[in-house]
Subunit: 612 residues, 2 copies
């Protein structure tokens, strides 16, 4: 039943040999790896304005353009920095790897924890923003905002569990459509106002500034805008997926990505300034601009909203693919539970996918599906991992001292410094709005990861064979004392007894009585059967049969010599209907767990199938 | 940790020999067995008025007195009927027993199901009514009504899990105080109005009747008042607890109970008529009367409310004791899960107690702690079991045809007929208000009980030894083929292998590979150790190691001869910290369950303790 439903949604199992990843050209690789970065433009301009307008009102647009320039400069620095990462890590240079190798394991774990949190946030933020694009076009869906977001997460989850094929075409077309739509909007908008001279209609009456632009305000707005840079790292992670020359192609994609982000982000910010749009609770900035440029029932408006929603959802999808991959690497290194390392029946890292889905859904519900409420949590982690990765590269050059190492170290050092400063600005200016949550989560995750690693190390040490092979395999016989617990003499007991008699060196039957009458009946039946084993009966005044048996086992174990052991033979009823299970005492499970805590012990379980 | 908390609340374990029940005299037996019946007076009058006043307004009080008389007559009939039950069942004549013996198992089960539902309702209704008595005196507690109810259920649960000692004194004093307080109130109230001639102040302005008294309305109000008769059966259940002559004493208690209910119910109804009280959402009828008679800040008012609350809570406590007892009888007969038959460490039927607590809490939460909302569910079950029990007695006399059987059959027949009619009236008039829930639950429970019985019968038949003893114990050796599954060669594998070599007739090692590299490493290590057993490696294209192993077991089993069997040897890691458990793959549990579905198979589990 469960299996059938699973098959319906997830599809049939795939063979391991079917695991082959598609190689990207520049043209089709760009959309796959850049959806996260490009899509963040959809909310970055809006977030900058949200920070500025309450204080500066009508005077917000000039500082907004400065911030857009600052972020573009930051983007340029990142591109140069990451070009060097691509050169050095042909197999993919995620910040976990770069930081671990060049700074140390702790730095790597901090990067990993930051990335984990940010991937989950990417899913939550992108889908919320995608839903905002949908509800801007269809306002009556606003009331189902959270539900809609969860449904979309569900669909993406199923899609990822099935595993995606031909993803680059699937991603490419909508991404290019989005880029095209937004460029058309930018050009049309500029032409309309600057060339045709149409005056934009003010959407909301903006107030006069109530304060001057302060540094704090500027930094806060700058922090909000930094979300535009999330997703830049994806390219350096994805190098092995490029066609040869892979590194060259990756660098080209990175360059193109920067140009596109520059054009779109700059263009949208400029349009926002020109049309004096202002954040509204129900209609996104991009929707407001599109309404002004194209009219609110034009096809282009709906195309704009649709492609925005799609690219945002694809960005979420990227995180759905990337976090499970990161978790699988961490699992292989022993920092997260091993289960994250194994591929599900459709070859996807299903446990990781389910984790992302649950965590993102939780965030969406907790923050009522509000993009704006989630943004302060976002970006701190991204910039922390940027910084660690760049600092790792800096250390790498510093250690190697080869070729133009000073030049390279300078570039990465600059990247590291700038991103570190940004990270601190982000953490401080957004602290009260939610960044504190991330600042608690990152060290908590790091602690958990080190604890998990420690446990796995312990297990490995415990299991490691440190003796000579010859000492290990004992061919001389272990003397095996079998204890067969009995409550009533029935077929399942007889089955256990027969097994014990066949296998054991000594066999005894053990009973705990809670009243004399039943015990007398048992003895009578036992004697009648002429069982060839001694019967021990103990009385439990407290009716705790299991405790008594455990204490008896301890007593018997005290007298054991070397090469002697005790085996407990127990039946297990196999019942067809699951609900029948609750009709049987579940204490045997507890008993079994407790028996296994002892040494020199084994449990033999004999199934007894109950026919209906 | 859990054990310590448990000990703190529940107390230390008690020996079975400490199980001794107290014998009651008439004086102290009355309060223990009658709290349910007497306490129902606290809400019965109120429920009658609730049915009448919306339709009849000021004209409600005359029909109310008629209904009180009708219910008193019904009580008289019940007393005479139950006196005969007491004579015939000296060991306690609950309706399950009487109906099963004299009508048939199905009738017994219907009675048992009705009683089960009604005991749960007794708890819910009584505690809600008790809380209503408390909140009538302390209105600011109204906002915590549900919470307060749940806390009281919790306290009673803990009390019952601990087991109660000296209960008759504990019960006797508050019951007598309640009776005394209510009699004082009745006398004072009558004296004030009829003798001193004080005119009662109207609490609410009552409206003129908006309709005439119809039969439907009368029956509906009568049904509501029938809750006053719940709990009458308790006496005939409790005969074995009386001092000798037990049956005589029980009959005396039953008679006294009837007199007390008559006086209190009649008196309260009369006072309600005289003072023209009318149901209010926040103040009970009894509280309204007490305020008028004693004044709302007099000590007597608070004494009245306190004793009412206590007797109601004690009534709930009675159900807490009775239902687990009924369940234990049903469990011994195999109609409910066996777990209900065993006494907990404090000798109470702890599973039954916990069940009552959960079910009652659920009802309280679902019905927002409103006594009035729960009443329609109540009483149908009580009267159904009354009727079945009386009809059972009728059949008994009819079959025996001894002595004055016609006379006795007439009395029980009358009881059966009257209660059956009442039951039908209740079911019909309260159907829409909630009785339908009970009418669905009773057959559902009966069905469940028969299914459970059928399953236990199947299990018993499966386990029953039907061969001659000599055929059963096989002393010739079973040929035992051991399979040791391996993933990596480590200490726990070596432990399993050694056990297999010591015990088995043939031993083989089995591995499922998902990639060639790991398999090659395994073979190399395996050969290096010089293990004296063949190694089988199979490749799983779908990475499903467990399925592969299961299929291999099936293949090996196909070739088995008689007296041959397969044993799978598996390690189990014993991990100290519970959270470490999640770091290990849980599929072995699933594997184990599936292996056990096969025949001629055994699993040996060897613990491997991981030291931290």
């Amino acid at each position: 039943m469960f299996k059938k439903i699973q098959s319906l949604f997830i599809g049939n199992a795939l063979k391991t040999t079917e695991l082959a990843s598609e190689k990207f050209s520049v043209l089709w690789g760009l959309p796959v790896l850049s959806s996260d970065a490009i899509s963040s433009v959809a909310y970055a301009s809006e977030e900058i304005l949200r920070a500025l307008i309450p204080a500066l009102g009508i005077a917000s647009y000039v500082p907004m353009m400065y911030i857009a320039v600052a972020i573009t400069v930051l983007l340029g620095i990142l591109v140069f920095s990451y070009r060097q990462t691509i050169d050095s890590y042909p197999h993919g240079g995620g910040s976990y790897i770069v930081a671990s190798e060049n700074i140390g394991k702790s730095a790597g774990l901090i990067a990993a924890a930051s990335l984990t949190i940010d991937y989950v946030l990417t899913v939550a933020v992108s889908i919320c923003a995608g839903v905002a694009a949908i509800t801007s076009a269809f306002p009556y869906l606003l009331q189902y905002k959270v539900e809609l977001t969860i449904v979309i997460i569900g669909i993406i989850t199923i899609g990822n569990l099935r595993g995606m094929k031909d993803s680059s075409r699937l991603f490419g077309i909508p991404t290019y459509l989005f880029i095209l739509a937004i460029i058309i909007m930018i050009i049309t908008g500029i032409v309309k106002v600057l060339i045709l001279g149409q005056a934009p209609t003010e959407v909301v009456a903006l107030k006069e500034p109530i304060q001057d632009l302060t540094l704090v305000l500027f930094l806060k707005a700058f922090s909000s805008g930094c979300t535009a840079l999330t997703g830049v790292e994806a390219v350096s992670d994805g190098i092995p997926n490029f066609k040869d020359p892979a590194q060259q192609n990756a660098k080209r994609v990175l360059g193109l990505l920067a140009v596109i982000v520059f054009v779109i982000f700059g263009g949208v910010s400029f349009l926002a300034t020109m049309y004096k749009v202002s954040p509204l609770p129900d209609v996104t900035i991009i929707a407001q601009i599109a309404i002004q440029v194209f009219g609110n029932s034009s096809i282009m408006f709906f195309v704009m909203q649709a492609t925005t929603a799609i690219i945002l959802i694809m960005a979420a999808n990227t995180a759905f693919a990337d976090l499970p991959l990161l978790l699988s690497i961490l699992a292989r290194d022993g920092y997260v539970p091993r289960q994250f390392a194994s591929r599900g029946k459709r070859l996807s890292f299903s446990n990781g996918i389910v984790l992302v889905a649950i965590a993102a859904s939780f965030l969406v519900i907790f923050f009522h599906g509000e993009t704006h409420a989630l943004i302060p949590l976002y970006a701190v982690g991204v910039f922390l991992s940027f910084s660690l990765s760049q600092f790792g590269m800096f250390r790498k050059w510093q250690k190697s001292k080869e070729g133009k190492w000073r030049h390279k170290a300078f570039i990465n050092g600059l990247g590291a410094t700038v991103t570190a400063i940004t990270c601190i600005i982000l953490a401080v200016s957004k602290f009260h709005d939610g960044a504190w949550i991330v600042l608690i989560c990152i060290p908590t995750l790091v602690l958990m990861m080190t604890r998990i690693k420690r446990h796995y190390n312990k297990v490995r040490d415990n299991l490691k064979i440190d003796k000579e092979p010859s000492e290990l395999i004992i061919r001389k016989k272990i003397t095996n004392h079998m204890i067969v617990p009995v409550q009533t003499i029935n077929k399942s007991f007889i089955k256990c007894l027969n097994y014990a008699l066949a296998v054991g060196d000594t066999v005894e039957v053990y009973n705990v009585k809670t009243n004399d009458e039943e015990a007398a009946k048992l003895v009578e039946k036992f004697n009648k059967l002429g069982i060839d084993a001694p019967l021990t009966i103990e009385y439990s005044r407290y009716r705790n049969v299991n405790d008594k048996l455990l204490r008896y086992i301890d007593k018997r174990q005290d007298g054991l010599k070397k090469d002697e052991m005790i085996t407990i033979v127990m039946p297990q009823f196999v019942i067809r209907k699951w609900w029948h299970q609750i009709l049987h005492n579940q204490t045997s499970l507890f008993l079994r767990q407790n028996i296994l805590k002892r040494r020199n012990i084994a449990i033999v379980t004999l199934p007894y199938i109950i026919l209906e």
